[in-house]
């Protein structure tokens, strides 16, 4: 096992070194945030409220509160006419998203290679990652409509079907059940590495090439195994946004009469198959870990790590064995950090489940509990995601306005918005602080509640269920405190440059 991890690290390090050759120093780095750290009073309030409210929820459950059997739902799009209308809108949005996808790749390959003058960089990181993941969590599974890979493949299938009726375009090889979502987990780790470490992340041409490479994998997979199964198991964005969307208030109805359902946020986490697969469990943990690691990289703590790497002596293995440049060494440090962080999160979670199994009367194996409780941590992760990206989404996201008029950076002005200058104080510090700490506290409360409800359905005896809560709620408090701590840290730019 350890040798496999080591070889993975080395492979990633080699990639890091290679990516480096192509990049250049940029005066204006992409993704700059001007957020002030949350003040001490917000930090203390957030921490205090987190602990206090955890006890309040525990007390409510201890006092024999009745669990609702079902949660209120509101059926939407109930008439056939409204469903037809919604389908038309969805098709139009799919087509727009597919068009935007082509525009991104064309701009990346042919356009100006300055990150802020080429639409691809903003489209991938701010719209594609931040905005869609937040919309998935707070609205519903928007990716099922936006997914350009699925749209193009479905269109090709339609064309094929009209040419050769009764024949399926894909080979229809049955997807190996043992493979489960392991491909999505692997691809997600690569994606997270690209987001956090890769030197090509703000170089338009590199991004476009990466997208083309991923398109080839995706379409090949869809061709071999079929579009739906590949999306569910291997297309990393469908799986990851799907995880976020379990939390969302909107969901599509399974059957006939209703088109969509409006529900309370997070009740989706309590539904369905209670025991996820190992690969899904690890994918959720990896998601939580990388979202947090993103924040860690901007703290003074990581700045110390960077300094230590740069200041390491001349005979260090970094320079002698690997022959790294300074920037490559920094990337190497981040790569190791990312892998370690995912492993640390997994270990902390599995250990907690071990303690839970003991506290809950040993009727359940720790491994079994780990697969039943992993989604209860999701609200904390979503809360941190909001806290971390709220101001960035609205301040940095405005960059798309001038870019839509001049996507290639050629000096066009298609929509008359090319000269728009983003207002970097659109969301000011006060708003950002209140939203950040508010989201963190609310997310924590939801997580603790969901964990309690889940425990009452997993454990047979009420007392066992309640006893099992101490370990996981402790873990949740620790996780929430880590989020708050990161927010209280001043952002230090640690981008390794070129």
């Amino acid at each position: 096992m350890s040798s496999r991890i080591l070889s993975l690290c080395l492979a990633l390090a080699a990639l890091a070194g290679e990516a480096l050759v192509a990049t250049q120093a940029l005066a204006h780095g992409f993704g700059q945030r001007y957020d002030l750290p949350i003040p001490l009073s917000f930090y203390i309030f957030g921490a205090g409220a987190t602990v206090a409210l955890s006890f309040v929820i525990a007390a409510i459950f201890l006092r024999n509160a009745h669990l609702p059997e079902t949660y209120p739902q509101l059926a939407l799009l109930c008439s056939p006419g409204s469903r037809r209308w919604a389908r038309r809108v969805a098709i139009a949005v799919s087509a727009l998203a597919a068009g935007h996808f082509v525009l991104m790749i064309a701009a990346g390959l042919l356009g100006a290679q300055t990150p802020l003058r080429n639409i691809i960089v903003v489209s991938v990181w701010i719209i594609g990652w931040v905005a869609i993941s937040l919309c998935s969590a707070l609205i519903g599974n928007v990716w099922s409509v936006l997914n350009p890979w699925a749209t193009f493949f479905a269109a090709a299938e339609q064309v094929y079907a009209s040419a050769r009726p009764n024949h399926s375009m894909s080979l229809g090889v049955s997807y190996p059940s043992g493979l489960d979502v392991w491909p999505a987990l692997f691809l997600f780790l690569v994606f997270a590495w690209m987001e956090l470490v890769w030197g090509g992340r703000d170089v338009p041409a590199r991004l476009a090439e990466a997208m083309l490479f991923y398109s080839a994998i995706t379409w090949l997979g869809m061709f071999v195994f079929g579009r739906k199964i590949w999306c569910q198991r291997a297309e990393l964005f469908t799986t990851v946004f799907g995880i976020f969307a379990r939390f969302a208030p909107l969901t599509s109805a399974e059957s006939g009469e209703k088109g969509a359902i409006l529900r309370f946020p997070a009740v989706g986490l309590l539904e369905g198959d209670h025991r996820t697969s190992w690969s899904m469990m690890l994918l959720v943990i990896a998601l939580l870990a990388t979202v947090t690691f993103d924040g860690i990289l901007e703290t003074p703590l990581w700045a110390h790590v960077d300094t230590a790497i740069i200041d390491s002596p001349d005979d260090s293995f970094l320079w002698t064995v690997f022959g790294f440049s300074e920037a490559a060494a920094l990337r190497f440090g981040r790569t190791i950090g990312l892998v370690m962080f995912v492993m640390l999160f997994s270990a902390a979670y599995l250990l907690t489940c071990k303690v839970m199994a003991v506290a809950g009367g040993k009727r359940y194996e720790a491994a079994d509990l780990a697969r039943r409780f992993v989604f209860t941590l999701l609200p904390i992760s979503i809360a941190y995601h909001i806290a971390h990206y709220f101001s960035y989404l609205f301040n940095g996201g405005q960059l798309i306005i001038p870019l839509l008029s001049d996507p290639f950076g050629f000096g066009w002005d298609l929509l008359g918005t090319a000269t728009y200058r983003p207002r970097i104080d659109f969301v000011g510090p006060l708003w950002q602080w209140y939203v950040a700490v508010g989201a963190i506290v609310v997310g924590h409360v939801i997580a603790v509640y969901v964990a309690h409800v889940r425990s009452l359905s997993v454990f047979r005896e009420r007392r066992e269920a309640l006893r099992s809560q101490a370990p996981i709620v402790s873990l949740m408090i620790g996780y929430t405190m880590l989020s708050l701590w990161i927010l209280s840290q001043p952002i230090v730019e640690t981008n390794p440059g070129g």
């Binding site: 007390a59 510090p429 006060l430 001043p490 952002i491 730019e493 440059g497």
Partner: protein
Amino acid sequence: MATMPRRATIVCAILMAIFISSDLAPGVVSPVFAQSGQPRQFAVVIKQRKVTSAMDVISVKKGDTVEIVLTADEPAELHLHGYDLLLTLSPNVPGKMQFTANIAGRFPLEAHRFGNPAQGSRPHGQRPLLYVEVQPR
């Protein structure tokens, strides 16, 4: 056990009170100081591509007039991000960055270049020289 929710509510209320008193009160008081109209002045000396003083954060309040006088021991091109102010320095000649801090946030002051324009290079992997923090009122 029955008292637990009540106790937790009290704890919450106390925390809320601390929060409100510690945070909103200064916001009410500080505009009085702002009316003095004195520019906030800071002197920064750069030696061997680093800021000499221990101060790596300049903290001001929104609305303040800020003057940062910078001196470097070699030619340098400095950039205050966010406010997008550029300053080109000659060796050992002080230069001034002056602005009204009308946007709150944390802004890096970076050297885009050290040395002569011809052979000068952007320092790789280096962090900003310092940060300007503009606190909201």
